[in-house]
């Protein structure tokens, strides 16, 4: 079946602009995660959604970052007033249900470059 998809695959923006990154999880998966992969910080957790529960935002690096998940499916990660240090690959993952033992399936990522 279809895996996790993300769009766009690449995004180049100017410092100070807002960007939106989209994630389509695997159908039927209730949990959705956003991670960021950068040269300086490695792979770091950003935010986690589980069903209709309040999201776990503990990994968001600043209030310029926000995310929403509509209808328990598609998710959008928004970065406002982008900075050069926001340049990274943003990865989305989904899992069938909640719980740390569940396998997370990753999308191909969105490569963001802030000029």
């Amino acid at each position: 079946g279809a895996g996790v998809s993300q769009s766009p695959s690449n995004k180049v923006t100017e410092k100070g602009k807002d960007v939106e990154l989209r994630c389509d999880p695997i159908s039927g998966h209730t949990a959705l995660y956003w991670y960021r992969q950068s040269l300086g910080q490695g792979l770091e957790f950003l935010i986690y959604f589980q069903g209709n529960s309040a999201p776990d935002k503990s990994g968001l690096p600043s209030d310029r970052f926000s995310a929403e998940r509509t209808g328990g499916s598609v998710s959008t990660l928004t970065i406002q007033r982008t900075q050069q240090e926001d340049s990274a690959v943003y990865l989305c993952a989904s899992s069938f249900s909640r719980g740390p033992q569940e396998t997370q399936y990753f999308g191909p990522g969105t490569r963001l470059l802030v000029l």
Binding site: V4, A31, Y33, Y35, G42, L43, E44, F45, Y48, Q50, D56, G59, L91, A93, R98, G99, P100, Q101, T103, Q104, Y105, F106, G107, P108, G109
Partner: protein, 113 residues
């Protein structure tokens, strides 16, 4: 809080030779352990995971890992590597109240013909 250490950032190995990629974790509670592989320009793919039970876990592509609680390690091994195993390998941990994964910094495995 959990953390993961992958001491080797790069591991070169000749084709058909064995390889071990090291992973140590730090946690005060029981955790779940994972190895993911990232091929060039692709997303992360699960190789194997340890949840409980037998400490030797077998995964895809001939990889296996052994959970050692006393040494807080979860090293990844393959008895004979292939050119196609060239990739970046990430060890990760979850649990202890967190659903998300905490990743190590990764080990780049390069298989030399």
């Amino acid at each position: 809080a959990q953390s993961v250490t992958q001491l080797d950032s790069q591991v070169p190995v000749f084709e058909e030779a064995p390889v071990e990629l090291r992973c140590n974790y730090s946690s005060s509670v029981s955790v779940y352990l994972f190895w993911y592989v990232q091929y060039p320009n692709q997303g992360l793919q699960l190789l194997l995971k340890y949840l409980s039970g037998s400490t030797l876990v077998k995964g895809i592509n001939g990889f296996e890992a052994e959970f050692n609680k006393s040494q807080t390690s979860f090293h990844l091994r393959k008895p004979s590597v292939h050119i196609s195993d060239t990739a970046e390998y990430f060890c990760a941990v979850s649990g202890g109240g967190a659903n998300n994964l905490f990743f190590g910094t990764g080990t780049r495995l390069t298989v030399i013909p």
